[in-house]
């Protein structure tokens, strides 16, 4: 298949257990003809064994034995489909009790989030939570799908009320681009095909919206940052003096000849050459993986950051972070964690819980210092050595961190740097 604009769009879905997420994804895949005949046959068989009329679209996405038996989604799964316009990656996240942890996992790399609302219930607390997390994670595009319109007689008024309610509370959040689409995932209204039952709706279908979102600006193209992953030194004939720094440009553009500073050492040099995946390049654009040679022989290694001398990140050992706690075990006072920030790994300690967010009211809690699974809070972290940081708002890649428990090796927290 030839793809028109050749772009890759990553999106995630959010909604509570019975909002119909799996059905929506099943519908999207089914109606866009992204499912193979043998998969359809397998789902038809299982559906008839379970005694359903027709096919259970959710079975296209729930792959694990326990999921199929219990009819729930246990862990994030990734789905793929391609239309003549784009290639899509869906992070299909479970909607049950661990929603915060799962949503953060699915949302961290997403260009867009689909938030499902049950048309019968309208904007409920769960919707606000999902919108809040989407805003916290700075997902560039939010698509609100008012689902189950078939159960409210496809009423335009219901749709208008929900749209208005969503607009009202989202104005307090950082959601730059959102749209509302009335759908029925079960019957396929406005998912891939236009709904005949809702002729009053003049907007685009969900698929058309996904195909046409402007995503080229989702990556920060202004602030060039180059975290060094590893050093390439071939030590072989023809390349004896070759020494290049390998990494993936998370933001910005770098060109040969650019004056750069290596952090945290502060040494300056200029870019002598850029080796791209298929040969030498004059310029590298995020998110390319390249290798950079500098004009001067200076000490650079994994964990260092290369940036333009006139636009550098801040180096800091004391950072304020919005933290989402992901682990069963609560955060311990004065515990040391490994912090991963780009390719830089340091030891860190949570010095202070500034406030916790009540995920139901979105208000602040000031007198609770214990961090438990799915909590979101603002904390102050101190690291043993400086990290080269940007705020998450400016830069999703150089503004994010994870914490690792040294006694279990588990990833216990995800953080977005405030300052």
């Amino acid at each position: 298949m030839k793809i028109d604009n050749n772009q890759l769009l990553r999106f995630t879905t959010a909604g509570s257990v019975d909002d119909g997420k799996s059905t929506l994804i099943g519908r999207l895949l089914f109606d866009s003809k992204s499912i193979f005949e043998d998969q359809i046959k397998a789902v038809e068989n299982t559906s008839s064994k379970k005694g359903y009329e027709g096919i259970d679209l959710a079975l296209f996405t729930d792959g694990l034995r326990d999921e199929r038996e219990q009819g729930i989604t246990i862990d994030v799964a990734y789905r793929y489909f391609t239309t003549p316009k784009r290639k899509f990656i869906i992070a299909d996240t479970p909607g049950h009790i661990q929603y915060t942890r799962n949503m953060v996992t699915g949302a961290s790399t997403a260009n867009a989030a689909i938030i499902l609302i049950d048309a019968r219930h309208g904007v409920i607390e769960q919707t606000k939570r999902h919108a809040f997390i989407a805003s916290l994670l700075h997902i560039p595009h939010v698509i609100v799908c008012v689902n189950k319109m078939d159960l409210v007689d496809y009423a335009e008024e219901t749709y208008n009320q929900i749209t208005k309610a969503f607009e009202e509370f989202s104005s307090k959040m950082v959601i730059k681009d959102f749209r509302v689409i009335p759908i029925s995932a079960l019957h396929g209204d406005n998912v891939v095909n236009r709904s005949e039952n809702m002729s009053w709706y003049l907007g685009a279908t969900l698929l058309h919206t996904l195909e046409t979102l402007h995503i080229s600006s989702d990556i920060n193209k202004v602030d060039a940052r180059f975290p060094v992953q590893t050093v390439i030194r071939p030590q072989r004939d023809g390349f004896l003096d070759y020494r290049a720094y390998a990494g993936r440009l998370p933001s910005g553009i770098l060109r040969t000849g650019d004056e750069v500073t290596v952090l945290p050492s502060g040494f300056t040099s200029s870019i002598k050459s850029i080796q791209g995946p298929s040969g030498k390049l004059e310029e590298a654009v995020a998110p390319m993986s390249v290798a950079i040679e500098l004009s001067d022989d200076i000490d650079v290694g994994r964990g260092d950051m290369i940036a333009r001398s006139n636009n550098k990140p801040e180096a800091s050992q004391d950072i304020e972070v919005m933290l989402c706690w992901l682990d069963d075990a609560a955060a311990g006072p004065r515990t040391k964690y490994t912090i991963m920030h780009t390719s830089n790994e340091q030891t860190a300690m949570i010095k202070e819980v500034i406030y916790k967010i009540d995920i139901n009211t979105l208000g602040r809690i000031n007198d609770d210092n214990e961090l438990r699974m799915n909590d979101i809070c603002k904390v102050r972290i101190r690291t043993t050595k400086p990290l080269m940081i940007d705020s998450y708002r400016e830069n999703r890649n150089t503004g994010s961190i994870i914490l690792i428990d040294n006694t279990t090796n588990e990833t216990v927290a995800a953080g977005m740097i405030v300052s």
Binding site: L8, G63, R101, Q229, S278, S289, T338
Partner: protein
């Protein structure tokens, strides 16, 4: 470059190279699991790019079931030589001879599940802490749940209920002695992406992927190649057909499809019109609805 965004193949390539470099930076003794199939060939090609002009800093490991297409072994050896790489072979035949595993019985016996023991033995014996594989999430529903960095306990087991969350591009590769990781740099690629990439990069693949005349027998809805390991039923007969293979596994279980696609261009055309999944012709996956999940939990790659 005239436009300031990457096309999807460049983005996937960039992501895979990033993952391979993380492996090199985070692990002591990683290997590339090499089966001679298109996915592990693409991973090797990406590894070459990730460390160019240096050599690939990983050894290659092949779990040899002993039931190979002869073309696969020749391709493997030629590639290893051209890359000047080190090859580790784990032999299922040796595990059988040593009494570590027992051959399956019956007409549909395969050595697929027997690979698990050999793979885990080879990982332990060679002190491998990370095995890089060409697994893709679009292949199979259990694989759709897989992380880029997939943790395995000291029994080599995958626990789908207890996977590390993977956030942004921050990969946590920390493990305890005896545990290891499986890493899948082309997780986000589909079969179509792999073929488009092979065509774009003009990557050499075994001739088995291109249509050719071959002796085959019709079994389990696909053309199973004739080989010294094939036991024919009374009503089965050997025919010569023009076939090609979409996946390459054991010669005993890999079904071919009738095809005229004898160039990469034609293969790309044919794959884009396919109505069956790629693994639809693998009899090992047809054993039960959760065959892959069950094997993966035991340590299958």
């Amino acid at each position: 470059m005239s436009q300031y965004f990457l096309n999807y193949l460049d983005e996937l390539e960039s992501e895979a190279i990033y993952v391979l470099r993380e492996v090199q930076a985070q692990f002591q003794n990683p290997v590339i699991l090499f089966s001679g199939g298109k996915d592990s060939i693409v991973v090797s090609h990406l590894a070459k790019k990730a460390f160019y002009p240096g050599k690939i800093p990983f050894a290659f490991m092949h779990v040899d079931t002993g039931h190979n297409f002869p073309e696969t072994i020749k391709f493997r050896d030629d590639l290893i030589e051209s890359l000047d790489a080190r090859l580790i072979v784990g032999s299922v035949q040796k595990a059988i001879d040593d009494g570590r595993v027992a051959e399956e019985k019956g007409k549909n016996a395969t050595r697929n599940a027997l690979q698990i023991t050999t793979l885990l033995d080879a990982i332990t014996d060679n002190k491998i802490d990370c095995a890089i594989g060409g697994g893709r999430r679009d292949e199979e529903k259990a694989r759709a749940k897989e992380r880029f960095f997939s943790h395995r306990d000291d029994f080599g087991q995958w626990d789908p209920r207890n996977q590390r969350p993977e956030l942004w591009n921050l990969f946590n590769g920390k493990y305890f002695e005896g545990e290891h990781f499986r890493v899948f740099p082309i997780s986000n690629w589909t079969e179509m992406d792999v073929w488009n990439y092979i065509k774009r990069e003009q990557i050499e693949v075994p001739s088995l992927y291109l249509a050719h005349n071959r002796e085959v027998v019709w079994r389990n809805d696909s053309w199973i190649p004739n080989s010294e390991y094939l036991i024919l039923d009374e009503n089965e007969k050997i025919e010569t057909k023009k076939v090609r293979f979409r996946t390459l596994g054991d010669i005993t279980i890999t079904g071919g499809i009738e095809s005229d696609a004898d160039t990469l261009e034609k293969v790309v055309m044919e794959v884009s019109a396919m109505k069956q999944t790629e693994r639809g012709n693998r009899t090992d996956d047809k054993r039960s609805e959760t065959a892959m999940e069950d094997r993966k939990k035991q340590g299958y790659f």
